[in-house]
C-alpha cells in the first residue's frame, strides 16, 4: 500500500497511511505514516468500539496538519484491549502463500 500512497501523493493528493508494519512503509519511503499497534483486520478498533475507531481516525487525520516533511512516521499511542494470544485475526484457512511456504518448509525437513 506504500507504493499506492506514493502514486496518489505524486498526483497531487496528500496522503496519510495508517499501518501496523511501519518498518516496510519507512523502507519504501512514504510521505506520512501513522503507525498503529492494532491487530490485522481491525486497524481502527474493535467491532462496536466507536470511541477507539473515532480516536484513531482523528489521530491519523491530524498528521495532515502536523507532518512537515516527507518520511514522517508518527507512532500512535493506542493499546489494543486484548493480549495477542487472545486476539484472533487469522483467516479460517492459511492464505495460499503461507500454505505454500509451510509445504516447502515441511519438504525440506
Amino acid at each position: 500500500m506504500g507504493l499506492v500512497a506514493r502514486e496518489i501523493e505524486a498526483r497531487g493528493i496528500p496522503t496519510v497511511t495508517l499501518n501496523m508494519l511501519w518498518p516496510f512503509q519507512r523502507a519504501i519511503g512514504m510521505p506520512r505514516v501513522a503507525a498503529i499497534e492494532h491487530p490485522f483486520g481491525r486497524p481502527f478498533g474493535d467491532v462496536g468500539d466507536t470511541e477507539t475507531q473515532g480516536s484513531v481516525l482523528r489521530a491519523g487525520l491530524a498528521l495532515f496538519e502536523t507532518a512537515k516533511e516527507p518520511g514522517t512516521v508518527e507512532h500512535l499511542p493506542f493499546v489494543w484491549h486484548e493480549e495477542p494470544k487472545q486476539t484472533k485475526w487469522h483467516p479460517a484457512e492459511p492464505s495460499p502463500i503461507i500454505a505454500l511456504m509451510k509445504k516447502r518448509r515441511e519438504a525440506r525437513t
Binding site: M1, M20, G29, I36, E37, T50
Partner: protein, 173 residues
C-alpha cells in the same frame, strides 16, 4: 520528525512466524527514490477526505475481488480497485481477503473503513467533508505490485480528483 517516545511493535500481533518470513525483506538502510510530497494547503476543517482501504472491499452487486486467482497463483493477488459509496453499510459490502479474518469488517465496516466515524467528524466540524466515494484495493500483491501501482493507483487518484478530494487516508487491512 519521528516520535520515538514509544515505538509501535510491528510484530506484536503478526507473531513470530510472520516476523521470520517478513522481516528479512526490510532493508537496513532506506533505499528508495525521493519521497513524493504534496503540501497540505487547507485546514482539515475545510478539507474533503476520502478513504482507501486495502481490505478487499466491494459493494454487493459489484464484481468481488478475485480470490480464485490468488488460490491458483499464491504469489500474486488481484490488482484491481473498487469504488465504495461513502454511505455504505456493512450489510452492503463484501470483503475478500485471504490473509485476515474478514468477519469483523463484515459486521462493522468502521473497524477498517471508518465511514461512520468520518461522518461524525464532519458533523463536529473537525473535517470539512467526506468524499462521496471511498475506495478499496486488495492489499496482498505477492511478488508483483506493478499492475496495482502503475494502473490502479493512477486510476484511483484520478477518481479522487474528479470528486475534488483534498486528502486521502490509506487504511491497512
Amino acid at each position: 520528525m519521528n516520535n520515538t517516545l514509544r515505538e509501535v511493535d510491528p510484530w506484536r500481533f503478526a507473531g513470530s512466524f510472520l516476523e521470520r518470513i517478513l522481516s528479512g525483506g526490510i532493508p537496513d538502510e532506506p533505499n528508495h527514490p525521493p519521497i513524493p510530497w504534496t503540501p497540505v494547503t487547507k485546514p482539515l476543517a475545510q478539507s474533503k477526505v476520502a478513504l482507501l482501504s486495502t481490505s478487499g472491499l466491494s459493494m454487493k452487486g459489484d464484481t468481488p475481488f478475485d480470490m480464485e486467482f490468488e488460490r491458483q497463483n499464491p504469489t500474486r493477488g488481484d490488482s484491481s480497485w473498487r469504488r465504495l459509496r461513502a454511505d455504505a453499510t456493512a450489510a452492503e459490502i463484501d470483503a475478500n481477503h485471504l490473509h485476515i479474518d474478514t468477519g469483523y469488517v463484515e459486521r462493522d465496516l468502521n473497524v477498517a473503513l471508518p465511514v461512520d466515524r468520518l461522518r461524525e467528524l464532519v458533523a463536529e466540524g473537525v473535517v470539512g467533508a467526506s468524499a462521496p466515494s471511498h475506495y478499496s484495493i486488495m492489499g496482498f500483491q505477492g511478488n508483483d505490485s506493478s499492475d496495482l501501482v502503475e494502473k490502479s493507483a493512477p486510476e484511483i487518484a484520478e477518481a479522487m480528483r474528479s470528486e475534488e478530494v483534498d486528502l486521502a487516508l490509506l487504511t491497512p487491512v
